[in-house]
Amino acid sequence: MDPVLRTNLINLAYLAAAILFILGLKGMTHPRSAVRGNLLAALAMLVAIVATLASQQVLSYGMIVVGVAIGTVIGAILAVRVEMTAMPQLVAIFNGFGGGASVLVAGAELIKVSQMVPSVPPPVAMSVAVVLSGLIGTVTFWGSLVAYAKLQELKQFKKPMSLPAHQLINAGLAVLVIALGFWAVLDPPNVAAYWAICLIASILGVTLVIPIGGADMPVVIALLNSYSGLAAAATGFVIDNTVLIVAGSLVGASGLILTRIMCKAMNRSLVNVLFGVMDAGSGGGSDTDEIYEGRIKSAGADEVAMLFDTAERVIIVPGYGLAVAQAQHAVRELTDILEARGATVEFAIHPVAGRMPGHMNVLLAEAEISYDKLKEMDHINPSFAQTDVVLVIGANDVVNPLARTDPSSPIAGMPILNVDQAKTVVVIKRSLSPGFAGIPNPLFAADNCLMYFADGKQAIVDLNTAIKEL
């Protein structure tokens, strides 16, 4: 085929792919069209890949087949095998690989250019794009790996870690990278400088993410996701490819907005998430004792079961502890039992309950709990006052009245579920230890609150047995 026509047809396919990507992303923002949106985006990717395979720059298919085969197998196995609860980690890993790929593509192109005969220095714009690809992509790669390790709760990464003079080290590394960047741009093509940038960016990726607490990882992943989009867009500038630029900048922009939305839901600023290492357990100590002392009423399965005997309206508030205990199936059974006894059961879903957005929805959906039982905060808050029993399972911060009353607390201003207005509140958790925000919870000391200390799953299983025996 006429090479000009061929190139044009490929570009036309890229245009189609770009439009499909946009439609796909648009679809993903509405619950009803989300599945179709994802499929559209996948179709877009397929179109782009097939078009690329037809390019005259592709001379041999051997390597391509090998690479795609290996990647597909690994990706598919990971995606199909993973537990629902481990999804955030997996997304982090995938994201890191995307960033890494951008780095390598830009590097390969730079090597190709540096070996051209006759040697012509590449245009400035290309050199800049190469540097950006390398920098952003590498930070994404290592940052995502650290995020993975934290979410997977690998021992070494469990706690927020910070080196002495941490921000100073980061600043030093950043200055170093910028200097190397100037070198690479002013003396192109410069393969050595490129790898040096990637090296420093690797360290930077680790030191940037490692001090951030595991619970903030969803925000970090959203941000790194935005970065991987930007890295892809930069790579698009390097190899002058429209679809890379469109798809990359789509993801870059939407990731940034998503990051902001997530920060807002937690009532924190992005700067605070990234640099304001949260003082785990601050203000604990004496405060805690004061609040709890002598006011905690604890109960066992049988006592709690009695409460449910007469309850007509029950609301269950799931939290991070439900995910840790993997109690969703037991909760499903509890729901069935209560409904069989004639009670109405609803779930109150706080927007930041758990450790990733929509965490509770996914968990409860896994246990096949009907979607219309899950109520959003604004929707269900007015009805707590008419509720007989509220069962809080492994939630803490999202039901902490300090958010309303103590303007100095780290969750001040965060809207919470007003469970304290119910007739009786039962809280299932293993101890009085605090949740993610590291602060005590006066709810536990309230008159209408009963503590049921146990692992979430065991507690519910026992409770189910007890109710059946009533």
Binding site: L25, T29, V35, M45, G67, F94, A232, I239
Partner: protein, 118 residues
Amino acid sequence: MIELLHQQVFLAQTMADVAAKVSPLGLLIAGLTIFALAVFVGFEIITKIPPTLHTPLMSGSNAISGITIVGAILASGAEETTMAAILGLAALIMATINVVGGFLVTNRMLAMFKKKRK
């Protein structure tokens, strides 16, 4: 090759226009135009997304960022120097994992919501 070029260009285009379009700065401008527009599209689309969809969206858009697979294919199919080819293969494997895994896992997540909906 030059004839090829000549023959394809419609004459109403001045040669300076043509040269500008394919000059490095011209390519950069064309790319930036597309970049700017796509950024606006991205910003505007993600405005009122419900929290439930944050995680699937994150995972889905993460799969989209695997578009760099296009670059990886070009790099690994080019029969270039060994070094570039090895980098290309590594890039291709990583990008494929991102794309295939990303879309599959997003689909799994979304399927869970959907099943219950009916």
